[in-house]
Symmetry: C2
Subunit: 204 residues, 2 copies
């Protein structure tokens, strides 16, 4: 006799009800971004564009909503800061509770990454009529990956030139950055392979 019987679909179920933090990771990404510096929603949205957001994208509305929720849960505190020449801002910071929750979260199961790339879905629809369009799209993709790689490399050279000498947390950030770089390099390589193949199709 078994203690538990899961249906086929219940694989993800029943993980954690012992803290306020649920499986989904936007809140953790935001809290993570606040580990070292307090920030306003606007600043967060901006820093997301060049840091954590590279691995977990979020719109400004999402961020504002999440900040509100997190401060209601006492995981963040907020204070209004008057500024001259600019509208006032609301600056959020991690509470002790927030820090603890974040640390706990690290020890929980992560989900496997969910790849969603409509370019790949499009490739399933390849035919003589759209080969040249697919080439154009791939070139565009290649270009934007390139841009991103430049950004990564700039960050790397600037802040992570000598990773081994960094404090531990920074080494973790470096590894994430490295993940982004490797991923970009791989994608670039694949683009080239794919473009080569498509070119040979296109020219019969």
């Amino acid at each position: 006799m078994q203690a538990f019987a899961y249906k086929k679909e219940s694989v993800y179920a029943n993980q954690d009800h012992f803290t306020g933090i649920e499986p989904m990771a936007l809140s953790q990404a935001i809290m993570t971004a606040l580990i070292e510096d307090d920030m306003s929603g606007y600043e967060l949205a901006q820093s997301f564009d060049s840091s954590l957001g590279l691995f977990w994208r979020a719109s400004h509305q999402q961020i504002y909503q999440e900040l509100k929720k997190l401060s209601e849960q006492e995981l963040l505190n907020k204070r209004e800061v008057s500024q001259t020449g600019k509208p006032n801002k609301i600056v959020y910071g991690l509470t002790l509770l927030g820090r603890e929750a974040l640390q706990e979260w690290v020890f929980k199961e992560s989900k496997v990454q969910e790849a969603k790339d409509d370019l790949l879905v499009k490739l399933y629809n390849l035919d003589a009529g759209n080969v040249s369009h697919m080439i154009t799209e791939l070139e565009g993709r290649r270009e934007s990956i390139m841009q991103r790689l430049y950004l990564y490399e700039r960050i790397r050279r600037r802040h992570y030139a000598d990773p081994d000498s960094l404090p531990i947390r920074r080494q973790g950030v470096y590894l994430a950055l490295l993940g982004g770089i490797r991923n970009g390099e791989q994608y670039l390589g694949w683009c080239d392979e794919a473009l080569k193949q498509l070119a040979s199709i296109d020219s019969h």
Copy 2:
């Protein structure tokens, strides 16, 4: 005077209102899966596990709901098929309208891929207390990527041993598969780099 003025957030806005197909790609993924064979929801959910779903994951509920929606929009047709020894099933197929919509979609702008990987977010939280846990997680991730690569390679050897001789659409599918393979290989390599680094932190 300008014809259009977008706010900062409106980048994605205003794309297409000339067909029933909206930017989001689950519907297209489903239609794509139905290009060559008609399938029931159940069969689709299964084929997703070993094919397109590798690039665009969806739960069975999502698939059933989407099928319903698509057949209401006349992009799919449905018929009930009686089976002996099994419950009846509802088999869906692309309508002419659906095929056209799908072909149009291929020519529309794709969004850049949105990477979401909480392992990378976790790495931002690296500290002396969780290094060994991160190592465990990375090893687990490595293992599951490995599994996936085995699957990919099996598919590749079985169906795409000689890609150049395949019909065009199949070559597209092959390129998507190759994307998955290259991505897995890269991830594996990064895992090893990261594990090495973490090991050196762990042993001081």
